[in-house]
Structures are given as C-alpha cells and as structure tokens.
Symmetry: C2
Subunit: 422 residues, 2 copies
C-alpha cells in the first residue's frame, strides 16, 4: 500500500498566488512519488490578523463562538484555492473544512483541544485517489456541533493529529524557515540548522521563544509517536526532524539558545498569608493573562514580607497590573515592560554538570545582569534587560560552540545529518 504523507503549509507558504502554486507543486510532487497525500493549510499571510481586526472594529469583546466562526474562514479560502491549483496540475484534490475532516474538539472556543479525529472522509478521499486538503486550526465541537478553533498556530496540531489518525510515519511542516536552528539566525550569523531535535528539547524551545513549531503540536506528536519534519517551503533541502530521544544518535550537552521578549512584574511587600500566591495567579488566569516565569523570595525572618516576581507577554502587562491593583495583596507593584528571556536547551544537560555555572559566568564576563533564573532538567532560562538579549544569545552560542563551523570541525562523522528524509 502507498505511504501516507501528511504535509502542513503555514500562512507565509500560501500567502500569494505564487506561494499557493508552489505549495500545490510540492503536494503534487509527493503524490507523484506514489504517496497518498493529505495537506493541512493555514490561512493566507495576514488573513487571520485582518479578520481579528474586523472583529475588534465591531466589538471590544467579540463573542468567542463568533470569533471562531469568523476566523475559520481563512483556512477554507487557502484550501479551496490550493485545490484549484492542484487540479490545474492534472491531479484531483478535494478540500475539507475541519468539521468535514472529522476534527472533533471540546467546546472551548478560540482555544479548543482536539478530542478525536474521525478521519472517514479523509480516508474516503484518499481511497478515491484524491489529494485531500484540510483546513487547519479548526474543528467542530463534539456536543454543540459549533465551529471551534485551536488557537494561534493550531494548524500544526491539526496536521500532527491527522498524521496520528492515519498512522502516518512523519508529519511534514513546511514553513518560511529552513528548520530549527541553534539560535535565531537574525541574531547569530553562524547559527546552525539542527538536523535532529528530541521532542523534549523542542517543547522547551517552543515554550522559550522558538516560534517555528507550536507547543501543543509537539506535545501531540510526542504523545502519539509522530515524527515532525520541520522544513522550508522555499527550498528542497531537508530541515529538522523532531523525534523521540532514543531515536537521536547523539546527545549534545546544549542544543540551542532561544530568546523571547517579555514584561516583568514584581509585587513587593507581599502579605505573608497562606493562599496569597494562589489568589494572585488565580486572578491573573481569570483575566486570561499567561504567566511565564515565577520567582518568590520567602524571607527567613518571620515578620518580614516576601517579594514575588513573574513575567508575562508584553501585550498582557496592562491587564496584569489591572488585576493586581484590584486584589491588594502587597505594598506595591513594579513593572518593567522590556525584559528578555534567554534560554539554553539540551537533552544532554541532564548528565552534564556545570552548564548553569558556565552560562552565568559567560553572562557575567559580558557584564549582563541576570534578573531572574529558572531551570528545568534540560533548560536554563535567564531574564536580562531587553537590550542585552542579542549580546547574551551570541555569547552563550559561542561559549558552547554551537556555531556551524564549530560543529563541522567537531563532527566529521556526519552524525548530524538527518536519518530520515521524505
């Protein structure tokens, strides 16, 4: 039986007429290699942003059910246009909405979770020798049969979920970058394209600034054992394979440096009562403020007060301060809208000591002040002043020899080349 290939094209890969035709040609090429092909498409270019703007022109707080109805149109447009282009290339294609494709979700509008993929219509389309195009980012709620969306970047998750439902070996995610890099190539000139990354590393990277893959899609892929091939829609070279750790041949100590810009909030003179932190973060969650790093310094002396610091997305800062002013749990709220978070990620950190010390020393040598620190077994994150982020990223990238030249010298065996290409 023919292999099933699931391909996903992001918004920049279907933005204008030539992009749509390029994506169609990629899809057709996969079909002509004898595969059964399912392609998941995102909305074109800025379509989703424009639809969101239209909603906010009408209403300050657009109804979430109706936002989903509105936003889900963007991917349908991409799919219909791509089906037309494929048809002109001599192949049969059929486009399906998320609902038609059987993407059944819960009913949390604007951030629904996929409960099940009932892929009957996809399978029927493939059985009729058709290329099947699926509108990404959307589904239908199992109970109310309403259109739902999966949140920003949800098309990655759609693609991985379909790959899992169809038993595909790999899910190819086509994007405007060539793969996952050892650092942002815009900051670090010798950043290296990583041939292999483990799911756990990718999860840490996605949550600490690497925008190339959506966090939930990586989780879904890990949980269902679907390898992700993250690659460029503009060139043929293989990109980065994201896969289980036991499939990677090597475990470099540090794989990549990532960064993100955020805002910092500090509550000083926090009342020393049980449940204060719960009240703070509960109230923030109710206001839909996503909190990233949290640090609390509990004083040793009993009658002192604690300080609590956390970071939030810059866009959420005013909402966060509104919430804090409303609940009155400390002496004062201080904010810094311009901080940056620099993280190093690597599965090998588990078995190597001294990574944290080397990071802190490297930043110290450059006189970059570390405001906050948080760690996981395979990640160390440091909050620094926003304007020092490029320096910090470059310094750490160099200190751990992550650059392309360094690797080429160290790794003549070719171990870094991907083991699986499509």
């Amino acid at each position: 039986m023919a292999d099933t290939v699931v391909m996903k094209f992001g918004g920049t890969s279907v933005a204008d007429v030539e992009d749509v035709k390029r994506a169609a040609a990629r899809i057709v090429a996969a079909r002509e290699r004898g595969n059964q092909v399912v392609a998941v498409l995102s909305a074109r270019g800025k379509t989703t942003d424009e639809l969101v703007a239209a909603a906010y022109e009408i209403s300050k707080r657009p109804l979430e059910r109706e936002l989903d109805m509105l936003l889900s149109t963007g991917e349908r447009i991409s799919c219909a246009l791509c089906a037309m282009a494929i048809h002109d290339m001599g192949h049969e294609a059929i486009s399906l909405t998320g609902s038609q494709a059987g993407i059944v979700t819960d009913s949390s509008h604007t951030r629904a979770r996929i409960l099940e993929v009932r892929a009957d219509r996809i399978r029927a389309g493939l059985a009729e020798d058709r290329i099947v195009l699926v509108a990404g980012f959307q589904g239908v709620s199992g109970d109310s049969k309403d259109v739902t969306t999966l949140g920003r970047g949800g098309s990655d998750t759609t693609a991985v979920a379909i790959a899992a439902a169809l038993g595909a070996d790999v899910c190819e995610i086509y994007t405007d970058v060539a793969g996952v890099f050892s650092a942002d190539p815009r900051l670090v000139s010798d950043a290296r394209k990583l041939p292999l990354v483990s799911f756990d590393e990718m999860l840490e990277m996605s949550s600490s600034g690497a925008g190339v893959l959506q966090l939930r899609s990586v989780e879904y892929a890990r949980n269902h054992g679907i390898r992700i091939h993250c690659r460029s829609s503009f060139e043929d070279a293989p990109g980065t394979l994201v896969l289980a750790e036991d499939e990677t041949m090597e475990r470099p100590m540090v794989t990549a440096v990532t960064h993100a810009y955020e805002a910092r909030v500090t509550l000083t003179g926090l009342r020393d009562e049980p449940g204060v932190a719960g009240r703070v973060f509960g109230a923030l969650a109710d206001a839909n403020v996503n909190v990233d790093m949290i640090i609390q310094n509990e004083p040793i002396s009993e009658d002192s007060k604690a300080d609590l610091s956390f970071t939030v997305a810059t866009d959420d800062l005013s909402a966060a301060t509104d919430v804090l002013n409303g609940i009155n749990v400390g002496d004062a709220t201080e904010t810094d809208p311009h901080v940056g978070k620099v993280s190093i990620v690597g599965a090998g950190m588990r078995s190597h000591q001294g990574v944290a010390a080397k990071v802190f020393r490297t930043l110290g040598e450059r006189e970059i002040n570390i405001e906050m620190i948080s760690t996981s077994p395979i990640k160390i994150s440091c909050v620094v002043a926003a304007e020092r982020v490029p320096d910090a990223v470059r310094a750490i990238h160099e200190a751990f020899d992550l650059g392309a030249d360094a690797v080429r010298e160290e790794d003549p065996s070719g171990e870094h080349r991907p083991r699986v290409t499509s």
Copy 2:
C-alpha cells in the same frame, strides 16, 4: 406565540462597521417588538467579487466545488460580525452556516437549488430566545455533504426559503434602495416607489433588468405564498410588498418600465434544416451562455434561408461567437455589443388592449428604432440601440403616466399604500 420575522440584509447593508451595526440595530428592534427573529446576511460589500478574483488569479477554470467552498466564507464573516454587534446591544445571537441552518440543496455547484430546509437548529436557537443569523447564498448538498452555493443573489432565496420553512408571514429584504420603482430613478426623476407588486409582475421585472430582487427568490415566494417586503436598510419608511395578485387591490394597466443592457447576435443565412435552432442553443447552453430574447424570421419562400437573432449578456458575447464559429450553421454571424432592452410590465395588460401599439407609437415619435420585440401576457420588451435606452424609458414612463405626480392625482383614495407593514 411570538410572530416569526425573517429579515435579509444584502451586501451593501453590511459593507462596513457602521452598516453592520445598523443592520444589527434593525434586527434588535424587531426582536424588541416581541418577534422571533431570523436574519439572513449576504457577504460584505465586494467580498464575493474579491474571492472570485482570487480564484481566477489561481486558475483559469476554477473547480466549481472549490469555488463554492471559497465563496461561502463571505456570508459567514458577515454573520459572525453581526452576531458580535447584536451581543453588544444586549441580545443573544447565534450565527449558522447554510449547512448548520439545514439548507439542503442538490449538488449543482455554483448554482445549486434548495431541495429542503431542515430548520431544526434555527428553531432550537429561537426556542432558546436567541436571534438566529444565517449565512445566505449557501447550503450543503444532500448526497455528498459538500458546501454548495445558490448563484448570485442567492441570499434572497435563502431568506424566502427559511420564511417558508418557519411559516413566517412575510420575508423582509433590506437593500440599498427604498423598494421597487416604476422605473430606474437614476434615469427617471419622477419614478414612483410602488407600494404593491404582484409576484408575476415582479418575476417579469426581475428578468428584464430590475436588479432589486433575485428571480428565483420571487419564484420561490410565489410557489410557497410568502410575501416579500422589499425595503431600504437606511430608512424606516415601508418599501414595496410583493404578493399574490388576488391580494393587490388594483391592477394598473402598466406597473413599471425596466431596462437592461445586452449584446445582440444575428446569424444570417441559417440553413433550413430541422434541428438547426436546437443545435445553436444547445451549444450555447453547453458553454453556459445565457440567452435572453430569441427571434427567428422563417422565410415564406421555400428555398430561402432564415435569419436568427438573439440577445445575451454583454460578458457572454465572445463566448457566444466562439460557439457559433465552431458549429457552422449559417452564412455569417453579426454582433452588436451595445443594445438595450426596454420592457413594460403590468398585470393589467392582460385585460387592456392597445398597450403594445402605444409603446411602439411612443418610441416611433422619438425616432427610436425597435430592433427586436418579444412579449408575454404581462410584458412587452423592445430591443433598441443602447444609447437610446434613457430616452425610451423616460418616454414610456411619461406616456403611461407612471410618475409620482400622475399617480397622486389619480389615486386620492390611498389605495396605493401598502396594506401590510411590519
């Protein structure tokens, strides 16, 4: 039980933010008068044109199934935005796609016909005290469950079909004109807004240039006994009621003058063989050319050849000549891309003699040459040179005293006022 009101808003009535809010306010006002309200919306402003253009950028012959998937997004956008606006006015609204609203059609993509309205979700929404918004122009094919569209102007038909399914008394069609006029007010300064028009008259008017209501929606309304109230979304005054002839109090001899611009094709030296006309119009139909008027002059002398003339939409002219050049049934094909059709319509013509003579005499007095004539029991159409259309319309309008002043003098009884308003 509360009355059910079905309202339909056209593209110009939801074009920008203020329009959407105005439509929402109209809908809310109907709800606050104690009605159960269903509103059918068209795509905003030029949305459909833009989507069609996008399709033709991708493909010279876009797949019809995919065109439907593409075009159906426009009305969904309108509905979602309007639901948000209604919510901000303190009412609950739910938007439904054509498929969700149970508009079941055949599978003729881009020109599907409604087979059935399974209005369960609409009724459920009304029962929950919600305003129900339905995306016009679209449905779902009963067999393949694909998205279908009803053709240009199909939202009128959606609204009438829903009104019929819900047993509503009247279907209100909101548009950018104040109603149906005795002639195009842009050509005739004293054109009169008609308070009442019969279904048959409206059908003749819609098919002869009055763009205010889609032909099929009037047919559907006549067949199901649904009165249409055609009115302005920009003012509160009542518009025109379209209803069964036995409900109209009066039967004026002539109700209105309409006009349309077309192209004319003449085949000279047509071979005198059985089936020639069938071949000509069969081939035109296969090429999707809509033929309007047809005239054939069969010569009395047996060895002579016939001439065949017909009119088509100007956009279809080149397709029509391609077809004729391909089938070779006559000596030559002559075309005139700029003709106009002026029609007078009136249910009273059935019982009044001399209307045709008066029309021809009126045009003759202005030295307007009549190129083709066709008649129905309640309509006379004359094809004239395009540049003489405004003259012809004004002359006939005046000759039959259709202007506002004329009627006011003749009709002090107030009989012309609509008997039903909402």
